[in-house]
Amino acid sequence: MMNNFLDFILKDIETKTAILSSLPTKTKTNQKKYNAQIDEMHKKYSDYKSNLRNYLLAKSRSFEVKETNQTDIEALNEKVVALEHVKFLLNPSNTYLEKMGFDILLYQISNYSTFNFTSLNEIINELLDKFALAGIVLTKEDFDYTCYVHEYMQAFLEVRANKESSHEKVSAIFEQIYWVNPDIIEHIELNFRKLIRKNDRKFTSYISDLQKTEMASNHVENYMDCLEKLQDAYAKLNEANKNTISDIITGCEKGEIDINSFLQDSKIRNSAYEMLVPETIDKTDVGAMDKVCVILERLKSNVLEYNNYMEFEPIFKAFKDEYQKAIPTEEPKKQESSGLKDVLGKIEEKEQELDKMNRKIFGTRNSLFDFKSEMDLKQLKSKSVMKAKELYELYAKYDEEYFKDQVKRILNPTLTVADVLHLYYSFDYFKKQIIQKVYKLTTYDDITRYSDSFDLFAMNPTNIIVSGVPVFEDTNVPRVIVNKYRLNGIKLEETDLSIDNIQNLLNRIDLVLQIHKVETSTLSVEKIWFIIQVHKLLEKEQQI
């Protein structure tokens, strides 16, 4: 009795191949006989295949592991997002301007022409929405910065009030104004800047109420408490997000992970173990390997952090170049700088002058002022545009001083990269400005992508290296990392952390962690190999 099906099949195929090659096929009758033999064999082998297919599938499914509990991850993720929002609201470094998101919209409107935004109206609507959130309903009377803003915003507010979907009417007015005054967008921005400043108490109060509500609903007592809770929630999310067996199988099926590198005789596996597992460790000792993997998880986190650091190093360097000379020798001042006060004084003074001009211009509509001629009105409008231009420059100066003021509050010789990360994270407008400048970006999408990536880095509560890297001193970060892990017996070289090699290092760490995961699970490398082979075979057949 032949009980090994593989042996049977190999022998049977050999026999059947020999039979077929010996059959005559010259005549039609012979051909028919030959084809009948083939049909018979085909039927038999199709049955074998079908039975085998069912067996392979059943066997593969019997190895299936419980899927990761997505609900848990979603719940943990929601908690992190909620706490990040509370942190954002409680951030002691910025004001209502940033917490309301006005800085984001002001950046957009001030760069409107540079980036060809599709809709100015969308930005204006979002600005108006933010005022509405704080209970401030703006009317046409509020838009009196220049007669041009007044005319445009009057039409805009009408369309908005009537909830009209088409902005055609507004676009026509915009076009009409634009050819007389191409600075119209700047005037709209100036008007909003003035209105934001004028309503600062209402916004501050709105944010304060929001802080209280969010703190209560998230059981947060204060900013520090929020940071601690966030760190805890983030650690839990990270733990839940770690590669599961099911993730490894999916990775193999998608071709992202090569299961062959898991095999004992794989060169890739052996080279990763040689580098990352200390020689003194018995690789078959699960307890010892557990400890190695805890260290490797930390190394992975450090390497990812260093990778982020490298990506944004040009920003830290630009900051260093800009502010190194300004480092104070005494304690940083907490009060507003005189530069900021001076500019603000000038802005208020010039806005009053502009206001006077506007009263005369607007007055003509009600015949309160008697102009000798249309020429006088035209001259006055022209002067108001010039005044607005001066104000626009003053606001740019104000922005500059505003950020300098924020920097001065924290500037000291031991300022760390973590401090600079938090500074730019707190001031989106200036973060985008420096990103645009340093990386020489020309599209808003690119800037947003860098900015989002920067925020993710800045917000990561597991950052540890950046807290020890001084901005104003040269530090060899790779050396710091390498020396730390050499103490753990890991054979790291500084070059392993170079831009070209860092991904390779991360892959090696992942490989050792994944193999350990598999070897300490109910599955084995062989079973996973089998699941993948079955998946590939069936996938190939479906393609045919």
Binding site: M1, M2, N3, N4, F5, L6, F8, I9, L10, D12, I13, K16, T17, L20, T25, K26, T27, K28, T29, N30, Q31, Y34, N35, I38, D39, M41, H42, K44, Y45, S46, D47, Y48, K49, N51, L52, R53, Y55, L56, K59, E526, K527, W529, F530, Q533, V534, L537
Partner: protein, 50 residues
């Protein structure tokens, strides 16, 4: 699994995982071989029997 050719029972659980994949591949390859070998009607051959 039963073979109809002879009354032979095969216990697939006796095969290792690697052997299972191999036997499935061999069966699939042989099926492809058979499909290739089949002679199409009116292809070659004489009209009448000799």
């Amino acid at each position: 699994m039963k073979s109809n050719e002879k009354t032979v029972d095969f216990d697939l659980s006796l095969l290792s995982l690697q052997e299972l994949i191999t036997v499935y591949q061999k069966v699939s390859e042989f099926l492809e071989y058979l499909e290739d070998k089949k002679i199409k009607e009116n292809e070659e051959g004489k009209e009448n029997d000799e």
